[in-house]
Amino acid sequence: MSGIKIKAGAGTGSTELQGPANTNNNTTLKLPSADGSANQLLKTDGSGNLGWATDSTLTSVLNASAETAWTSVGTGTDFTFTGLSASAKRFTLLADKISADGGVNTELRIGDSGGVETTGYITESFYTGGSSSGAGVTTSFKINGTGTASYRQSGAWEFWNLNGNLWYCQAYAHTADGTSHASGHLRAAMGVKELSGTLDRIQVYIASGNLDMGNVKLITWT
């Protein structure tokens, strides 16, 4: 097999470019006239002309760019993460045993510089397990399944940017009473919401009473 051996700039080694192992065809491949950008791949136009192309699999990968410390949801009517990155494409809200002082649903809302938005959600809000029920909700991403004041909800609640200011939320909640299970139900919310501006806040909300325990953290993906 013949090839072109290129000696290293220093040292005694070399790199050899070789032709195919076996062919009767004569092929010409023309190298591009200039260097490409970082992470670009060499491509062909099918006529022997080589060029540079961006690898779409590299550019579509999201990376976790920020993660808050665990923080208490406090004892107010709601808890809101603010100051969110405008370039983020996904947020993960981790919830550890969030509880209210009454039997209420945990709800999630998003907003922009104008504040948290309370209308325009298109949410399927449901629970299933020993029994099941569901409803369409327009005021929040409502995780369905009213329990009692002793119930605590945990989960990894996802917010994905679909395009522009349109966001999708998918939230499954594990609910337990202290350290034991609570009725074997899966509580969930999934829906979309189009904001009027860039998302900059995510809120954990209850419709009545106050939050009384639990911690949250937010992971930002860009």
Binding site: G74, F79, G83, Y127, G145, H185
Partner: protein, 81 residues
């Protein structure tokens, strides 16, 4: 009433007391929520359909009122607001 905010960029945590207009809006929302909350609580507390069918079968067989009693208890435990 108060609400809690945590700024992801600065790490600053703040608590705000709701203004009177925010409290009014909050109370109005609570009133609307209370109107349907009992339905949600009942729906969640009812035995599964499979269990209810089983109760009805044995009630029919034994002349008992297990199913009616179970449903009545859920309703009385979660009265209309």
């Amino acid at each position: 009433m108060k609400r809690t905010e945590y700024n992801v960029t600065t790490g600053q945590r703040t608590e705000h007391t709701l203004s009177s207009s925010e409290e009014t809006a909050r109370n109005a929302e609570k009133t609307e929520n209370d109107k349907v909350a009992y339905k949600e609580k009942r729906a969640f507390a009812f035995p599964s359909l499979a269990d209810q069918l089983d109760m009805q079968y044995w009630d029919k067989k034994n002349g008992t009122t297990t199913w009616v009693d179970a449903i009545a208890k859920v309703k009385s435990d979660n009265p209309k607001s």
